[in-house]
């Protein structure tokens, strides 16, 4: 496979994952705002921006960080390179460039997602945005379905590898921002209001039912952190992404007969996650630990690029 094609597929995986993540983030934030009864809820929307690392970029637009503006910025803004629209556009550009490595179904799924979002203008109020969110969730489900039926080949592995690296990044950021926001050092967990805030985190990763099934108790911050970091049963956890990353790199290794630096890094990361626990991590400092995981994931991304000779 051409290095350029591999890079296009990897990034296509990353962009589609990012689009899906932001879709869920917007949906959960709308729900949170509805619960607080504050339609504009600057705090909820500011933290959404922080999760995707867009605080500075949004500030540069000069707009107020209220619901309408941030929804539009995150969903449809052409000036935001990580808006859902921008992500899907880039994914489609990459799919076009790597078209010959994809099957018809995957191409049609990405193209269809793009056709769905290309014509939309400003999302307006909460309801139109939720309608858009529903449409986008259907598109990403279509994409994942096509991906599940794809031939297991280098093209598939690069697509999934990109998704997994992106997933590791977004889950860690989600937890870091929300946890940090909701539980600054030394603070106590509060009442009903906090519960809604914590539930938001679980909704973004589709983990509400998973939490109930695994823990069978009321929401506890430490357990939420454990679910998202250490539990491989939850597909969007750091442990699950780390596990699949190792499996994917192993497939490449098997095919080429060689192991590279990326394999070693991914394996070391998985081992640490398998051996670690949330109590120890909180003791050391959850924020610092999550930041370290984010940095390590970024280093792994760079190492993958150099191992596979991405241009």
């Amino acid at each position: 496979m051409l290095s350029r094609t591999a890079a296009d597929l990897y990034w296509m995986g990353r962009y589609m994952e990012r689009a899906e993540f932001i879709t869920h983030l917007i949906e959960a934030t709308i729900r949170l705002s509805a619960l607080t009864g504050d339609a504009d809820d600057e705090q909820a929307w500011t933290s959404a921006l922080a999760v995707v690392g867009a605080t500075g970029a949004f500030a540069e637009t000069g707009e107020k960080p209220g619901a309408f503006n941030v929804r539009r910025y995150l969903a449809l803004s052409a000036d935001n390179p990580s808006s859902i629209r921008s992500c899907i556009e880039r994914a489609r550009d990459n799919a076009r460039a790597a078209r010959h490595a994809l099957n018809r179904e995957i191409w049609e799924a990405v193209n269809h997602a793009w056709m769905t979002i290309a014509g939309r203008s400003s999302p307006g109020g909460a309801q139109p945005t939720l309608n858009l969110v529903d449409a986008l969730k259907a598109e990403t489900r279509g994409f994942e379905g096509a991906l599940a039926r794809m031939l297991r080949s280098e093209a598939y592995w690069f697509l999934r590898l990109g998704s997994m690296i992106e997933r590791s990044d977004t889950t860690a950021r989600l937890l870091d921002v929300k946890y940090y926001l909701l539980l600054p050092p030394g603070a106590e967990v509060g009442g009903a209001l906090d519960r809604d805030q914590w539930m938001t985190i679980l909704q973004v990763v589709s983990g509400q039912d998973a939490y109930r099934t695994i823990y069978r108790q009321e929401l506890k911050p430490a357990l939420i952190a454990e679910l998202l970091i250490f539990r491989p049963e939850l597909p969007r956890s750091l442990a699950a992404s780390a596990e699949e990353t190792v499996q994917l790199l192993t497939e490449f290794g098997r095919r080429s007969g060689r192991q590279g630096e990326a394999d070693r890094m991914a394996r070391r990361r998985l081992q640490r996650l398998e051996k670690g626990n949330v109590a120890a991590m909180i003791d050391r400092g959850l924020h610092e630990s999550l930041q370290a995981l984010i940095q390590e994931n970024a280093a792994l991304d760079r190492t993958i690029a150099s191992q596979f000779l991405f241009p």
């Binding site: 051409l2 460039a97 000779l309």
Partner: protein
């Protein structure tokens, strides 16, 4: 225009009465299928093409809009006998084209004995000087030729143009057939249509048959300018149908006159390149130095015999319209036979007598640039404005050698879906002829292009033309 006198592919010379013998099922189908149903199927076809992303960008279009080439659901049909005659003529012509190219870059017999004026070839922009003396594997230079044909009568076919550089359109031939099979299966029960989906396999065989001698387990790639190119869909379609890698210039490197592609496992040697890039952009060290689409050192690798380029650089000398006018002589010279497919009568404006005739009859003639393509830079006398005619008159007087002229032909017409229902529109035809180490082959089909505006003769997609499926019937049932 000349519609009144044009030959109708379905009805013959008398529109509306009896269909041509053997084509009754199509006439019946058109008569019995409600217009609304035909429209529904046509829209379904276009939606499918859009979903597949078979779009293209029109050059010069500011928005870089993605459009689909309009598809018309009413097929044109060739009988088995017609096709046998056509393919014999096509194969004869392509054989001569390849012999001509090999000769002008080699011993130049046809120039030395004056059959074709030497300056017309040697001073031609399409003549690739670095290619002189190149030895193409199996002596084949134009592996893929698209020969544009028009028809003016029941047995009157003419070659309008030869395309020996990077002829395109074959993916539409295949996708149009897929759409027809899905949307109008009843037509395939009524007619014994020969398949066209064998083209990618035949092309792959052709490419592998011309791998450099000594290449064990040769590797073949398709070189594309990239996804911003208007024909990109076709490049990626063919590469994936043939099971070969699709590459851009930046994916290739030349080391020690050997071509490699940049893979995740490191450099991998390449032996055959099906290149869909114009000569000028192939190699910044040999041609346009500003080309970012090509591969530095590619020509050196080619001339060293380490890589086969299909079609070979310099094959465009056969595309030139002034050379076209000598094709009858060229066919006779290399095959010893009279051409089975005639040329359209052509006046070479570089010749003073021809120029005088042309200037006197501008309103009746079609004037073309010898090195033009895509239907641009063309004057169609009968439909041109006074201003356009005068513009061409001045251009002809200033640079007569750049132009040829041909009579306006009453191209055949086909029933076509229009806003006002089914109406006659002019069509042409481009079959694709493959030449490799094992001989010459033509897939039974091709691209029928249709001018969508009433009376228009301009069929090029870049100027708004559409396409139809072309049925070639198998033997036994139709005259």
């Amino acid at each position: 225009m000349a519609t009144g006198k044009a030959f109708n592919e379905l009805w013959g010379m008398e529109p509306g009465s009896q269909s041509r013998p053997g084509f009754e099922p199509l006439a019946g189908w058109l008569g019995e299928t409600p217009q609304s149903e035909l429209e529904r199927r046509q829209q379904a076809a276009e939606a499918a093409f859009r979903s597949l992303g078979i779009t293209f960008n029109v050059y010069g279009d500011q928005e870089g809009d993605e459009r689909i080439i309009p598809f018309d659901i009413i097929p044109r049909i060739f009988s088995a006998r017609e096709w046998r005659n056509l393919s014999a003529g096509l194969e004869q012509r392509v054989q001569a084209i390849n012999a001509f190219i090999a000769d002008v870059y080699g011993p130049r017999h046809i120039l030395n004995d004056g059959t074709v004026p030497a300056d017309l070839v040697l001073r031609n922009e399409q003549f690739c000087v670095p290619c002189v003396g190149a030895r193409a594997p199996q002596g084949v230079f134009a592996h893929v030729c698209g020969i544009d044909l028009v028809r003016t009568g029941p047995d009157e076919f003419w070659v309008l143009e030869d395309n020996a550089r990077t002829p395109s359109g074959v993916s539409y031939m295949i996708e149009n057939r897929e759409a027809m099979l899905r949307l109008c299966p009843e037509l395939f029960e009524a007619f014994p249509v020969l398949p066209v989906d064998t083209y990618p396999e035949l092309l792959r065989d052709t490419l592998y048959s011309v791998a450099p001698e000594g290449a064990t387990d040769p590797r073949c790639v398709l070189l594309t300018p990239g996804h911003l190119n208007s024909a990109y869909y076709e490049h990626s379609f063919l590469a994936s149908q043939m099971g070969i890698e699709l590459v851009e210039g930046r994916d290739l490197e030349v080391d020690d006159d050997i071509v490699y592609m940049r893979t995740i496992d490191g450099p991998v040697r390449v032996d055959v390149i099906y290149r869909r890039l114009d000569d000028a952009f192939l190699d910044p060290l040999a041609f346009r130095p500003d080309s970012l689409l090509g591969v530095p050192g590619l020509m050196a690798a080619y001339l060293a015999g380490n890589v086969t380029l299909a079609n070979a650089p310099g094959a465009g000398i056969a595309d030139d319209k002034a050379i076209y006018s000598y094709m009858p002589e060229i066919v006779r010279y290399y095959t010893g036979e009279d051409p089975k497919l005639p040329n359209v009568e052509t006046w070479r404006c570089r010749e003073p007598q021809a120029l005088a005739h042309v200037l006197d009859h501008l309103e009746e003639l079609v004037i073309k640039l010898v090195d033009g393509s895509g239907g641009y830079g063309m004057l169609i006398g009968p439909t041109a404005t006074r201003a356009e005619i005068e513009h061409f008159r001045a251009a002809l007087k200033a640079e007569p050698h750049r132009y040829i002229a041909q009579p306006t032909l009453a191209l055949s017409t086909m029933p076509t879906m229009t806003e006002a229902g089914i109406a006659e529109r002019h069509v042409d035809f481009r079959p694709f002829v493959l030449t490799g180490g094992k001989g010459i082959r033509t897939v039974p089909g091709g691209l029928t292009r249709v001018a969508l505006r009433a009376g228009s003769l301009v069929v090029n997609s870049s100027q708004g033309g559409g396409t139809k499926d072309s049925f070639v019937l198998g033997d036994g049932e139709v005259p």
